[in-house]
């Protein structure tokens, strides 16, 4: 969908044409779900996440400005949602009695995960929310650092260094990974 087309749709929604939001959902739900699915490694939670992200976007549409692309804005919401969710899971591990009521017990993180190989899973579980986002956008979506910088609101050079650190981490578990020197210093 063209940027202009999205802007017109958003304007119509702001003016009260709720039906137009269905077009937005149709267009963005799958990419946002894909992101949340990789971030949370859980089908049902990713589905909940995409619903929350789209609902939040509708309710805060007045706050959206064209300074960012709508897609970037949505991904930012999704990233914040997933980061909170991962934080909650971490707390859940340490303070299960506080969170039992939410899910009827401790969240079983690995029940419905995407079928990654075991070693990748090990790496993935060691990555923080921001690191997962960075890997997802850099490796899977092949985004440039400048684009990711907008999504994570961080300078590209900082992200570049952060990515190199992630690579080092990964190197320990994925010794055959292409494009990375044994010392993990190769720039990408």
């Amino acid at each position: 969908m063209e940027k202009k087309e999205i802007e017109l749709l958003l304007q119509a929604i702001k003016n009260g044409s709720l039906e137009q939001f269905e077009i937005i959902i149709d267009y963005y739900q799958q990419p946002i779900f894909t992101y949340c699915y990789h971030m949370l490694s859980h089908h049902h939670e990713a589905e909940m996440a995409v619903q929350e992200v789209l609902l939040h976007a509708y309710e805060h549409l007045e706050q959206y400005t064209t300074a960012l692309s709508f897609s970037t804005w949505l991904y930012r919401i999704a990233h914040n949602y997933c980061a909170n969710e991962l934080k909650r899971r971490k707390l859940n591990r340490w303070l299960p009695f506080l969170y039992k009521q939410d899910h009827g017990g401790i969240v079983k993180e690995h029940i419905d995960r995407p079928n990654r190989e075991e070693h990748l899973e090990r790496i993935w579980n060691r990555l923080a929310a921001e690191e997962r986002s960075l890997v997802f956008w850099r490796v899977l979506e092949e985004k440039e650092y400048e684009e990711i910088a907008e999504l994570l609101d961080k300078p590209p050079e900082v992200l570049h260094k952060q990515f190199e650190r992630i690579l080092k981490k990964c190197k320990r578990y994925l010794p055959t990974m292409e494009g990375v020197a044994a010392n993990g210093q190769k720039s990408v």
């Binding site: 709720l18 589905e47 490796v139």
Partner: protein
């Protein structure tokens, strides 16, 4: 350099395709449910404020409310006039506005602008009509109006999206007007103070009995890409009110006769007082604007269901002169 040097990592990430998802209905249902809930909360808030305002009226903006009751010769209350000064109304409005969130205030402003726009269009359509004809105007309801309409029971056959306007016939003398309204009441050709009949208009009830083809108007609005559409309809034959201007070299005095409605009215007049017009009780309102007074005298003529009123600026007719004019009109059988 290879743009994606992490092929193996990528391959592993996409080892299992991501499932398809469709949350559209769930999200839309959640949005609609939330919007309905919020609207109800806002309505409750406003309702509560008004109720509280009325309950603690003694210490609030309504502390100075005065009321005049007009009784007929049998002692029955036929008209009530309550005074809400403009300043008090503004204070009340401000109090209410402050309780509203910026979003609700913005919505109020939006509705005010919409009302203004509707008023302008209504006047334009009315001005374009031939004297003695009517038009039904269809207005495309907003989402909010659509919801509100569910809770309103409309009287007669009035369709919530239809507004009827009429252009009255204007008569240049009582002689011309008498055949039309003479059976209901009589007005003089000249009133106290040398004011002569200048022109009078006869208005009929808006014809909400007529079966308007709303669907046709809807289609017309869509076709014309407008929020409204209108069509000419027959004028009602039920008299509503007449307004006559009398003139002298001092200026104009207005006399109105209308079919009285049960209950009463509110006024933003600065002073209200009860006076006698013959055997009739009457309410005299004084509005003061930029140091100049204007008078508005209302009464229900005993033995009739007609509400009379006389209006004039003080520079054209004094309070005593307005009362004299009223007495003259009331004495005519």
């Amino acid at each position: 350099m290879d743009k994606n040097p992490f092929k193996s990592m990528r391959d592993m990430l996409v080892a299992k395709p991501v499932p398809k998802v469709d949350v559209k209905h769930k999200v839309m249902a959640a949005i609609r449910a939330k919007e309905n809930k919020e609207e109800k909360v806002v309505k409750k808030k406003i309702g509560l404020l008004v109720t509280v305002g009325m309950l603690i009226g003694a210490s609030s903006v309504w502390a100075g409310v005065e009321m005049i009751q007009l009784k007929n010769e049998k002692g029955e209350v036929v008209f009530e006039l309550s005074q809400h000064k403009l300043q008090e109304q503004q204070q009340m409005f401000q109090q209410l506005s402050q309780q509203l969130s910026p979003e609700d205030q913005a919505k109020m402003e939006e509705r005010r602008k919409k009302r203004e726009y509707i008023g302008t269009v209504r006047t334009e359509i009315m001005n374009g009509l031939k004297p003695g004809t009517s038009a039904a105007i269809y207005w495309k309801p907003t989402k909010e109006q659509g919801e509100d309409q569910k809770n309103i029971i409309y009287t007669k056959k009035k369709h919530p999206d239809i507004m009827v306007v009429s252009k009255p016939i204007v008569y240049k003398s009582w002689k011309d007007m008498e055949p039309i309204v003479g059976k209901v009441f009589t007005l003089p050709s000249e009133i106290h103070g040398g004011f002569r009949f200048l022109e009078g208009e006869v208005n009929y009830e808006e014809n909400y009995e007529y079966d308007v083809d709303v669907e046709e108007l809807k289609a017309k609005a869509v076709k014309d890409n407008k929020e409204y559409a209108f069509t000419e309809i027959p004028l009602s034959n039920k008299f509503s009110y007449t307004n006559v201007a009398y003139q002298s070299e001092k200026g104009k005095v207005w006399v109105e006769v209308r079919i009285a409605e049960e209950g009463g009215s509110g006024t933003s007049a600065d002073v209200i007082e009860k006076v006698m017009i013959g055997n009739n009780e009457a309410a005299l309102m004084t509005h003061t604007f930029e140091g100049e007074n204007s008078y508005w005298l209302i009464w229900i003529k005993n033995g009739t269901d007609l509400e009379y009123s006389v209006q004039a600026d003080e520079k054209v007719a004094s309070k005593d002169e307005v009362i004299k004019i009223a007495k003259q009109i009331n004495e005519i059988k």
